[in-house]
């Protein structure tokens, strides 16, 4: 029997050895994978709609993306994802051919070529202190050398040539302690204005050619101001006092500064509430927001203020757009009883609407947050307008003539958490005619494929073949398939919107903006935290739809109130939502479900209470039953403490709360803070399936994997070396690895890596952990593997013990018993920095595993687990080779065919998620960042199904040929027999 198993295993091994890398042919791209490109929530937008060339809009986003979009369709022409610390402060166009971006707090200025996105030049701007950064590019730059880009950043004003990025002059304002808020450029002079303190307003006048200080003037206001100020052309500034009750106009006239003040209540009768200056740049006008009303105030030449208009229920204001020499227009959006009005008005001619349109926008997109406008000349020489709108869910819309021309779901660039859901089961009732037609189509397809294999296909045939393969309607069907490839990926985005994506082709099945995660008066900055499977109907609740739990919190502070939402996974309807009275520190999905297959969840709050959800008596009963079996741990990274907890009793407030529990600390591990700092913790996935505990060694020995769900990997670094690479020396760097049992708090294994530092990325699976870190001595990245084996079961191999019943295999496994553990470890060099590590997961856990490594180049590399096997040696024996042990090398090989993202990049990669398919050989992989990527991988090839390439036509042909041969030989032998008999 053992022999047969061995033979079978070696056969499997032979199969898997034939290809170490799961690779792809070029014409298979797009068959099982899809890739979507996003940019994120737009911060700034600049239109480029010259008569010649393609019309485009240049945007910078909150994901630090600079991109050029096609104005007709919304596609990306080019895109650059800047570094995570390289926040874009401003974007503009210079010389009509360069896109200028200012980033990193006003210290890096880059110019990109407009058509193709090639970087043309880059300037580093030095300065001594952090300050507001301002990018100022004069309009209508003609291409002569004198054109300046003015940048204020890090307390300095820089004048930069737009042709080559050379810094022409620089003026340091760091010594003046001025908060510069405005830079005004005129051909000869440059005005720099800002506050010193809160009541002194300074204006500097500089020579535009040399940066020399011409004049320096200031005015001391007799009251404090709110700090925000607005420049109104013709040398005026609008300021509010700190009580926000007065508007102050500061006038600079040929070096003299004077001011006027006016009570807001004089302008409007019923002004209650805080006034805010809207930062829209409208020549001659200023917008003041009081509650939901916006006052448009005109500043006359004498410095007098007059209210031009009051606009109710406004949502967004655009900047002014000059459409001709003296005509400036701007747009605003109003909400009026469920209708959205977009109005465009002339700044100077207030009475006339240039445009007033009603818009129909899906209310799932939320409010309009930003609006950018652009004009075009119609055939009758009148002006038409298009508006680019940034919505509350981070999507981007282009509106023209009251219609949405295109939209981009850029909320998907900021995925926070991912879960999956099954699709509905297919219903009966497929018509016969359809099947017949399908059969014909099917045969035709396979004949085409056969032609393709035999290389007799014409180019048209080839196109038809490719189309057939890509356009297979099978994969985007809305029902469950036999292999479990079709699923819903349910993603929660930072905007608080939940999307369901189909794994077949990535289309959005449904999306919903959760009310609990929308910005409101009592919830200023809602954030989505996590998403869990709440109810997975399985056996006795198959009629019900599965549901999803979304957890969100108001604001980034941990004590902010939280809310739960329950969603139907098929339709995206919100089933229920709860605003919680308690906070959320951690959510623990328990391995128990009630009679309707709702999973029990414990929510731990900051006041050391655990709350049970769902709040039903049945759930409480189940929990009571398992009361003593629930353990969890908490990591306090700042204090260097890990604690283990267990439930104690119900909370007792006034009355006993059935669903609230207090818990006790079971154990705690305190790391010495002077030498160690927790930088990473990883535990096993709770839903991972392990096929067998036993592992057969080469010498017929059996090792037992130590498989426990309550096991935690902790990586600690020396405090000095816990920063980035390049900040520590090898002597002071140290990495300490612990493997901890989270029920007893026992440290199962401890290891140190001298001269190594973080960042540590790790993944825990079965009985092994793989982690990636940086070795300062070799100055290379390293990956290590630790495998943990249970020694106490090691002597269970003796057949006599089995027969006599002396083995301990049937003895219950308890987390309390202290197993003898042996750990094996090995380290290898790895070339790239890593952003994320995951491991493939399959339905039964039989298939061998692959590590999925998200590299710094935003690609995902699949590395066979056999390369990270502590039993690798330099010269493996013949038996070991047979078993598939690879000779030891000092570094892990990077086989370019095993990049599962092939020639694509998942820009801004943040995470990788793997989900098992129903087919044992296959694992579904979803990688997310600014882009989304999905594919199926088979770590040991698809040994349990025919590949996509399988040629049914060839099979048919063979069978026909065999049958024909049978007949011919039958006839031949008959004839021969007859001849024999005649003889």
């Amino acid at each position: 029997m053992a022999m047969a198993i061995r033979v079978f295993l070696s056969f499997l091994l032979f199969l898997s050895l034939t290809n170490l890398a799961s690779s792809l042919y070029e014409d298979q791209v797009g068959l099982m994978d899809w890739h979507q490109q996003y940019i994120g929530k737009v911060k700034h937008a600049v239109f480029h709609t010259q008569k010649t060339g393609r019309k485009r809009v240049l945007v910078s986003t909150e994901e630090n993306v600079v991109a050029s979009l096609d104005l007709r369709h919304g596609e990306i022409f080019w895109r650059h994802v800047l570094g995570t610390n390289d926040v874009v402060d401003g974007i503009d166009i210079a010389l009509g051919k360069y896109v200028i971006t200012l980033s990193s707090g006003g210290s890096i200025l880059r110019a990109w070529n407009l058509p193709d996105g090639q970087m043309v030049w880059e300037s580093s701007l030095q300065g001594s202190k952090a300050s507001k950064s301002i990018l100022n590019i004069p309009k209508n730059l003609k291409s002569d050398k004198d054109d300046l880009i003015l940048v204020f950043g890090k307390g300095c004003l820089h004048a930069i040539s737009s042709i080559d990025g050379e810094v022409l002059w620089k003026k340091d304002f760091a010594g003046e302690s001025i908060e510069v808020s405005h830079i005004i450029q005129s051909p000869e002079v440059i005005y720099v204005a800002g506050f010193v303190g809160s009541s002194k307003f300074y204006v500097y006048e500089l020579d535009a050619k040399s940066g020399e200080l011409l004049k320096n003037n200031h005015i001391a206001l007799p009251f404090r101001t709110s700090g925000e100020s607005l420049y109104v052309p013709d040398d005026k500034f609008l300021v509010l006092d700190d009580a926000r009750s007065k508007i102050v106009t500061i006038n600079i006239n040929n070096g003299d500064i004077n001011y006027n003040q006016k009570q807001i209540s004089d302008l409007v009768k019923d002004s209650s509430g805080q006034a805010v200056i809207l930062p829209s740049r409208l020549p001659g006008l200023s917008a003041l927001k009081i509650n939901s009303q916006v006052l448009l105030i005109k500043v006359t030449n004498e410095g007098e203020l007059a209210v031009v208009d009051k606009i109710d229920n406004t949502a967004a204001f655009s900047n002014a757009l000059s459409i001709s020499e003296d005509q400036h227009v701007f747009a605003f959006v109003q909400y009026e009883d469920n209708k959205i009005h977009l109005s465009i008005k002339d700044v100077n001619d207030w009475s006339r609407d240039l445009l007033k349109e009603n818009l129909v926008i899906d209310h799932q997109r939320g409010n309009i947050e930003k609006i950018f406008i652009n004009n075009y000349v119609r055939t009758d020489r009148s002006h038409g307008f298009r508006a680019l709108m940034v919505m509350e869910d981070h999507s981007l819309l282009l509106v023209q003539q009251g219609e949405i021309v295109w939209s981009r779901e850029d909320g998907l660039a900021s995925v926070v958490d991912v879960t999956t859901s099954e699709l509905p089961v297919e219903k009966e009732g497929v018509s016969v005619a359809k099947v017949e037609q399908n059969l014909f189509e099917w045969l035709k397809g396979h004949v085409l494929k056969l032609k393709g294999t035999l290389m007799i296909a014409s180019p048209e045939d080839k196109i038809a073949i490719q189309k057939l393969r890509l356009g297979s309607s099978e994969k985007s069907k809305m029902t469950r398939d036999h292999n479990g490839f079709r699923k819903l990926l349910i993603v929660l985005t930072r905007a608080g919107k939940v999307f369901a994506l189909h794994t077949g082709d990535g289309h959005i099945v449904w999306s919903i903006t959760l009310n609990t995660l929308r910005k409101s008066e009592d919830c200023e900055h809602p954030v989505g935290l996590n998403i869990y499977q709440w109810q997975v109907p399985h056996h006795h609740a198959l009629d019900e739809n599965p549901s999803i739990l979304v957890i969100g919190r108001c604001g980034p502070s941990l004590s902010a109130p939280t809310a739960l939402s329950f969603l139907d996974a098929y339709t995206g309807k919100e089933l229920n939502s709860l605003s919680l009275a308690h906070t959320v520190a951690r959510v623990i999905p328990l391995p128990y479900t009630d009679s309707t297959e709702q999973r029990l969840h414990l929510i731990i709050d900051f006041n050391k209470h655990a709350h049970l959800y769902p709040r039903t008596p049945e759930a409480s009963e189940i929990l009571k039953h398992e009361f003593s079996n629930i353990y969890w741990y908490s990591v306090e990274a700042d204090n260097g403490v890990i604690r283990g907890h267990a439930l104690k009793s119900n909370c007792i407030h006034e009355v006993v709360d059935e669903y609230c529990f207090v818990f006790r600390d079971l154990w705690s591990i305190v790391f010495p803070s002077e030498s160690e700092k927790i930088i990473a913790t990883v535990t096993r996935k709770s839903n991972e399936v392990v096929h067998t505990q036993a592992k057969v060694m080469t010498d017929h020995d059996v090792m037992y994997k130590y498989i426990s769900k309550n096991i935690l990997f902790v990586a600690n670094a020396a405090p000095k070396a816990s920063g980035d690479i390049g900040t520590a020396t090898p002597e002071e760097a140290l990495l300490v690895i612990y493997i901890i049992d989270t029920v007893t708090g026992r440290i199962l294994h401890r290891m140190t890596h001298q001269g190594c530092q973080g960042p540590v990325h790790a993944v825990f699976s079965e009985n092994w952990v793989v982690y990636h870190y940086f070795n300062l001595r070799a100055h290379r990245h390293e990956m290590s593997v630790i495998e943990v084996y249970d020694q106490s079961r090691a002597d269970n191999k003796d057949i006599w013990k089995f027969l006599l019943g002396k083995h301990n295999l049937t003895s219950p496994i308890s987390s309390y018993y202290r197993p003898e553990i042996s750990a094996k470890s090995q380290s290898y060099f790895f070339t790239h920095s890593v952003k994320a590590i995951e491991v493939t997961s399959t339905a039964k856990g039989i298939t061998s595993k692959q590590l999925l490594i998200g590299t710094i180049g935003d690609q995902v590399l699949a590395v066979d687990k056999r390369f990270l096997d502590p039993r690798r040696t330099l010269n493996p024996s013949q038996a070991e080779k047979e078993e598939g042990i690879i000779p030891l090398t000092d570094s892990l090989p990077i086989i370019s065919q095993s990049y599962i993202t092939h020639s694509l990049k998942v820009e801004g990669l943040r995470g990788i998620v793997t989900v098992p398919a129903k087919l044992e050989s296959t694992s579904l992989v979803f990688a997310y960042g600014v882009d989304l990527f999905f594919t199926q991988i088979a770590p040991s090839r698809t040994y349990d199904s025919l590949t996509e390439d399988f040629n049914y036509a060839l099979l048919l042909l063979t069978i026909v040929a065999l049958v024909a041969a049978l007949f011919i030989t039958y006839v031949l032998s008959e004839r021969k027999d007859l001849q024999e008999k005649w003889r």
Binding site: L24, Q118, E122, T727, T831
Partner: protein, 209 residues
């Protein structure tokens, strides 16, 4: 004549490159700020034969990454990149370019000796005298489809099946014919004596048990 001008141009170009390179490697403590140095370098992607991708389109998507993502820089059209305000110490520079494999580079910025930086490839520990990064190899992300051949059909499971059938159908009777009837009888006898051959006895290593 034409070829000689070409080679002259090439020579001039090389000269030009060399005149640029030393300056590209030297780095200066930036005036006005004392806390950092500037690393200048260049990424050079040789055009391998006649590839369908044109080079400039690729250069625009190359990123140079300092210290595992701390800072990201892009290439100028001529392949130059720079990192400003880099503190003294040992740093790591990686180049991310689709289609090419670059070795990470260890960069030592000396604090004692301003204006001195040293670079070495970490993959093969080769020192760089000039800070010019070249790909170690091109990366091929796709398997190449084998062109059609009769052998591939023969080797496929179906092909093997057909081949076996043919052998059985046409060769076996011939073999049987040639066999001596007595010998055949003896062989059959032998078989009967041995009994049914088990799977295990056919396998290697069975002798050990």
């Amino acid at each position: 004549m034409a070829s000689s001008t070409k080679s002259l141009l090439l020579f001039l170009f090389i000269q030009f490159c060399f005149s640029l390179l030393p300056s590209s490697f030297a780095q200066s403590p930036t005036p006005g700020s004392s806390d950092g140095y500037t690393i200048y370098g260049r990424v050079k992607i040789p055009s391998y034969g006649t590839k369908e991708f044109s080079l400039p389109a690729k250069v625009s998507n190359v990123k140079v990454i300092l210290n595992g993502g701390q800072r990201v820089s892009f290439l100028r059209p001529d392949g130059y990149f720079s990192f400003h305000n880099v503190p003294a110490g040992t740093h790591l520079i990686e180049v991310a370019a689709i289609g090419y494999f670059f070795s990470p580079v260890r960069v030592d910025v000396s604090a004692r000796n301003p204006g001195k930086i040293q670079a070495a490839l970490t993959e093969n520990r080769r020192g760089l005298s000039e800070f010019v990064l070249e790909p170690l190899k091109e990366e091929q992300y796709y398997e190449i489809r084998e062109p059609f051949s009769i052998m591939s059909i023969v080797k496929s499971p179906m092909g093997l099946m057909m081949g076996f059938m043919l052998i059985v159908v046409f060769l076996m009777p011939k073999l049987m014919e040639n066999m001596d009837p007595e010998e055949m009888k003896r062989a059959q006898e032998e078989m009967r004596n041995q009994g049914v051959p088990s799977l295990a006895s056919l396998l290697p290593g069975a002798a050990r048990n």
